[in-house]
Symmetry: C2
């Protein structure tokens, strides 16, 4: 599981670097689908990982800077701070934690739901990869090649 | 690892069902980014999973029907046949297989490269989720809601 998180963190860093080469108006431009803009998608990726893993750590996630005020550098710093908070949990993950349970209130229905830790961990992994796929379409709309999504050849298994 | 494959297979099935509600010309329409069309993306997802896992099984992957001739039903059937071939390997996966090695010729450079099985397994998982994220953008372009990408609340951990 750790390798998939490391993949996501590496890809996310590559996308922040990609953003440095793109005009801010392109990063903030309203687009069709997903979360609606490149920068807001990156904000959402950071927040969702941080939010869920904080809950698994038994902590209430802090409020992050508003995405409206976020520059690439603000978001990169925010991502690094969130990473520092959650990484110890990911590195300590082991299969004995799979069936632990977290109760969480569904934002849409208001109902309390119970999830296995293993379900949430995988949800967080898939969530980031999915949204990065959306960024790859928008990058081509701008006329720039996207960050590679390949997991192989990233040195993660050396 | 298995749960992430089961997630991908369930989401893929949902996308085939989604395709049944969409005009074929929309499925084949050339779009910006990714593999360029909805149907070709689904073909690519099926083929890449089947191709890599066949190699891990020590088998040469068979040629699949050409994507140009593929209808949704052809692809759905093709996906089911590929699934039947590779699923036994996925269900038999265990951590002792992580460091086994596969040599494969890079299509771009022609060079032979060596990968750990664990690297390929995770590459295949991330590959499908990434391309599904692209479909979610195109579905909004068509004006239809995409299949949910949530891994939670799919009954995968009941």
């Amino acid at each position: 599981m750790l390798k998939l998180f490391e993949y996501n963190w590496q890809v996310r860093k590559d996308w922040f670097d990609w953003c440095d080469q793109v005009l801010e108006e392109e990063l903030l431009k309203k687009r069709t689908g997903g979360l609606g803009s490149i920068l807001y998608t990156l904000y959402h990726i950071v927040y969702v990982e941080y939010g869920w893993i904080s809950l698994l750590q038994g902590k209430e996630p802090k409020t992050l800077p508003s995405p409206e005020d976020a520059s690439v550098q603000t978001l990169r710093d925010c991502s690094a701070r969130c990473h520092a908070e959650i990484a110890p949990f990911i590195y300590a993950w082991n299969s004995s934690m799979e069936d632990n349970r977290l109760s969480d209130q569904n934002e849409d229905t208001g109902e309390w739901e119970s999830y296995k830790y293993g379900e949430i961990i995988r949800h967080v992994i898939a969530h980031e990869i999915h949204h990065i796929g959306q960024l790859s379409i928008w990058s081509r709309e701008i006329g720039k090649p996207p960050v590679t999504a390949n997991l192989i050849r990233r040195g993660l298994f050396d």
